[in-house]
């Protein structure tokens, strides 16, 4: 299996972009993370839907007690006005420094190893400093099914 068959070309995010615009870019492809690039188009971070929702919507203390939570969470809710507020925010505070990169000629298994190491389901493919796209865990699974069907 070749990695370059699994690359999903996406747009990139930049500091100052709104969460709403970054969400749209993710959902269009659809991937859960896209790279954040600087003015020289170098990948400097990762924007992910998962991390953004975690930071913006839930108290960190709730995670540890997640299994004990009932359905009535009182003050910990996400009403419509809060959702509108979040999508209008700049992505700057939600940019993660931890991201995994790989070359398009790298073995697929390396992508899986990197995902495990960085606790993510996406790896950014970069060749000679140029961003090519995203490899997702779903893309790998899809390719495995295609190979098996052939």
């Amino acid at each position: 299996m070749k990695l370059d068959n699994m690359v999903i070309p996406t747009g990139v995010a930049r500091a100052g972009m709104t969460v709403g615009a970054a969400f749209r870019e993710c959902l269009q492809h659809p991937v859960s993370s896209i790279p954040v690039v600087d003015d020289h188009n170098r990948v400097v971070g990762r924007f992910s839907i998962h991390d953004t929702l975690r930071i913006a919507c839930i108290p960190s203390v709730a995670i540890y007690y997640a299994d004990m939570l009932s359905d009535n969470l009182g003050g910990i809710t996400m009403p419509e006005d809060h959702a509108c507020q979040i999508v209008g925010l700049p992505i700057d505070t939600f940019i993660m420094n931890d991201f995994a990169t790989i070359h398009s000629v790298s073995p697929v298994v390396k992508a899986i190893i990197l995902m495990e190491k960085h606790a993510t389901d996406t790896v950014f493919v970069i060749d000679n400093g140029e961003y090519k796209g995203v490899v997702t865990i779903e893309a790998i699974a899809r390719r495995m099914l295609e190979v098996s069907d052939d």
Binding site: P59, S60, V61, Y64, M68, L69, S70, N72, L73, G74
Partner: protein, 440 residues
């Protein structure tokens, strides 16, 4: 004073120098307090051997085995109970009883924290209760700040009530041969009154933040049934804890040490739960145990140099007078409390124990001094945010919860905690004075 100075020897000066040096290292936290105490212990044994006032054998026998084993035994009991989710179950259950009133929620949570702190160590209790409290407050849309401060303070107060509630109590009980019942009987009632007084004061201090918010749902958003992660081990660890409690109540009749009682509980727990010993022992607070052992060695060096006996004899002239004994107790209580607001109360307690023992050996009735010491070091911890480890945990939790209004700053703790400490000390002094005969 002149006669006192004339009796001071070179060995005494050297031992005092090592003690002061080690305590400066401990209190300034330039290095970890356990490392600082270990260095102090090594220097004390070296200096003692060189100048002939302290041998290696004496250093080893200075470590109070009953304190060390009681402390480690209780730590092992905690490592068996904690992963089962039993304490979380208790916290959720208690919170549900008071879900419709922020004031009642504070009182009930503090009561649960205090009772738990009477049996388990304060740090474990607060580590479990504080994050749960933050979550409950977020769901209830109330500020967690008053709850966190109140839990830390009432955990410190609850710990004073029993022989195993606080490390200084363990040391005092071991040195003075005070059994569990006697400790509970003498400390329980005064602690209960102080607890009630402190709760009233806290409710008044935070009255503005404890008003029920509009639309209070009455749900705490947590299901206690899912809190218990391991019902089998919870049952077994509760059986072990229950047996320990029963034996604590009669250990003086059976002539067995409290430390042996805890290890009976540990043995029963191990037999029933069959945990991986590596896993259990890894969770023990080894730095705390090392800190205690090293401090015992340091103070043992000062004791063998004769300095503590000299100080004790000098104080005995004052304390031997029955008219002055109450005053001595109150001075000890207040000095212990004031020092404990900024310094670790364990080194102070370990240093005071041989002095009080010496007073006892020259005919002073030391019994009320032990109670005064236990009350002073226990109550003093509430004065500042660094006065007790439970306070630091609650401050950290307030910083973690991402709410600016919940953040407990050192200044805020001083403004709220110092009046609580002073009021509790005044109340304690009044009760101690009025019922002084009870403490004899």
């Amino acid at each position: 004073m002149h006669a006192f100075l004339e009796q001071i020897t070179l060995q005494m000066l050297i031992s005092a120098g090592v003690l002061v040096g080690a305590y400066i290292l401990v209190f300034t936290e330039v290095i970890h307090r356990a490392n600082a105490a270990l260095i102090g212990a090594v220097v004390m044994v070296g200096a003692g051997s060189w100048f002939g006032f302290y041998t290696q054998e004496q250093a080893v026998s200075s470590i109070d085995g009953n304190t060390m084993f009681l402390l480690s035994g209780m730590m092992i009991m905690v490592t068996m109970i904690r992963p089962t989710g039993g304490i979380e179950y208790l916290a959720i259950k208690v919170a549900k009883l008071a879900a419709k009133s922020p004031t009642r929620l504070l009182v009930y949570l503090c009561l649960a924290v205090s009772v738990t702190s009477m049996l388990l160590d304060n740090v474990t209790t607060v580590i479990i209760f504080a994050p749960l409290t933050v979550l409950i407050c977020r769901i209830q849309q109330v500020n967690p700040l008053p709850y966190l401060m109140a839990e830390a303070m009432t955990s410190n107060i609850g710990g004073i009530a029993t022989l195993v509630g606080d490390p200084p109590n363990i040391m005092i009980g071991s040195a003075a041969h005070i059994d569990f019942n006697t400790f509970l009987l003498h400390m329980g009632p005064i602690v209960a009154v102080i607890w009630a007084g402190v709760i009233v004061l806290i409710l008044w201090q935070f009255r503005g933040q404890l008003a029920p918010p509009a639309g209070l749902s009455g749900s705490i958003g947590l299901d206690e049934k899912t809190a218990i992660k391991d019902p089998r081990n919870l049952k077994y660890s509760l059986i072990a804890l229950f047996i320990v409690l029963l034996l604590f109540l009669v250990h003086h009749l059976l002539h067995i040490y409290p430390s042996y009682v805890t290890f009976i509980g540990v043995a029963i727990g191990f037999a029933l739960i069959r945990p991986d010993p590596d896993e259990v022992l890894r969770q023990l607070e080894w730095p705390v145990l090392m800190f205690f052992a090293a401090l015992f060695i340091i103070v043992g060096g000062v004791q063998h140099s004769g300095l503590l006996e000299l100080i004790g004899n000098s104080l005995a002239r004052f304390a031997r007078d029955p008219e002055q004994l109450l005053l001595t107790c109150l001075i000890l209580m207040w000095v212990a409390a004031l020092l404990s607001t900024i310094l670790d109360n364990i080194p102070f307690t370990i240093t005071m124990i041989p002095i009080v023992l010496n007073l006892e050996s020259v005919g002073v009735d030391a019994t009320p001094l032990w109670w005064a010491l236990a009350l002073g070091v226990g109550l003093g911890g509430n004065g500042t945010h660094i006065g007790a480890t439970a306070n630091i945990i609650c401050v950290t939790e307030s910083e973690r919860c991402d709410l600016a209004e919940a953040r407990i700053t050192p200044g805020l703790w001083l403004r709220k905690g110092m009046p609580v400490m002073l009021a509790s000390l005044v109340l304690c002094s009044l009760i101690f004075t009025v019922f002084f005969d009870f403490f004899l």
